[in-house]
Assembly symmetry: C2
């Protein structure tokens, strides 16, 4: 145990680039953006590259800044939830740790399932000003995932920090992906 | 905004390797381990490579698995708190997303300041079974950092998930590093 690991690379699965090449440049409505991240989640399950979760950071015009998918099991890293991947890649692309650029711009984080305790805590630091959710956290718990120790009033806590929260956008489509994951025998990790 | 960023690399500052080369292989006591992560925090301030926070994952014998320092500003990434960096690097080194290997081993996360809302949420997913803290979250808030919307009973929430929590280990030494950061004019980011 003497070798020091000096770095760690977060990597999107290769198929994401191909999917992006065939996607529209602008996702005009909230539903368009959710449909896109639910498709990311579904592809992630079908291609067996991670858990049934997708996310994306979009600018005010609906242009995708960065996508994210859950790669916890395939990357051996517990922090790589879809939201965290999307946030890190968006910040790299924008060249700043505050996506909003000190409140000058509005960016939206769209996630196929409501954030777990970690991703909830990461959202205020990220600089996004809107959060749009598909499936509810109880839908994730229903298939055995653990959402962690979240504040009961987590949406209000985000609103108080300037992050507007929308729920249940295409909820059923997002739940369908969770169910697909169970059907194909996906690993429900960290469920102890 | 069309170029897709497919990856993002978390990187420790270069001086960490040098410091590790001159450090003991085993940190026998909790205080030894805390002194080490407080030194990481202090060096991070003095060398201007990030915020005043250090962390490390240690195995049951006190051997360092992976260090972490806060590199939010220098890496332009809001998720790169010291604890998150240490967790990601430890998981890479061990080759698994659950540090405890399904509860078979005990590992300790030592952090120079109590975790923010995000890092708190990340701890149960990481697989560490002990958390040792130096400065309190109120010490971080005292110099202007925001610890985020945390559960009031966050320690109990971790204990209920099998993570034993120790506080106030070399608290004053850790607070001294927070004060040093203010003295040298370090950026208090995300304080809005």
């Amino acid at each position: 145990m003497t070798l020091l690991q000096m770095d760690f690379t977060i990597r999107l699965p290769r198929w994401v680039a191909e999917m992006l090449a065939h996607s529209p440049k602008i996702f005009r409505t909230r539903e368009d953006r959710m449909r896109f991240v639910v498709t990311l989640a579904r592809e992630n399950v079908q291609r067996q590259t991670g858990g049934p979760f997708g996310a994306g950071v979009f600018d005010a015009s609906g242009c995708l800044v960065a996508p994210g998918v859950n790669v916890v099991v395939t990357s051996n890293c517990s922090i790589l939830h879809a939201e965290m991947v999307a946030i890190a890649l968006a910040q790299k692309k924008l060249g700043r740790y505050d996506i909003s650029d000190e409140g000058k711009s509005d960016y939206e984080l769209v996630t196929s399932t409501e954030p777990c305790a970690m991703c909830f805590g990461a959202i205020p630091w990220s600089g996004v000003t809107r959060l749009v959710c598909g499936a509810r956290d109880e839908d994730a718990r229903h298939i055995g995932f653990d959402e962690g120790p979240k504040l009961p009033n987590w949406q209000q806590a985000l609103e108080e920090r300037g992050v507007q929260v929308s729920r249940d956008v295409l909820r059923q489509e997002a739940v369908d992906v969770l169910n697909l994951y169970v059907k194909v025998g996906g690993v429900i990790y960290n469920a102890r």
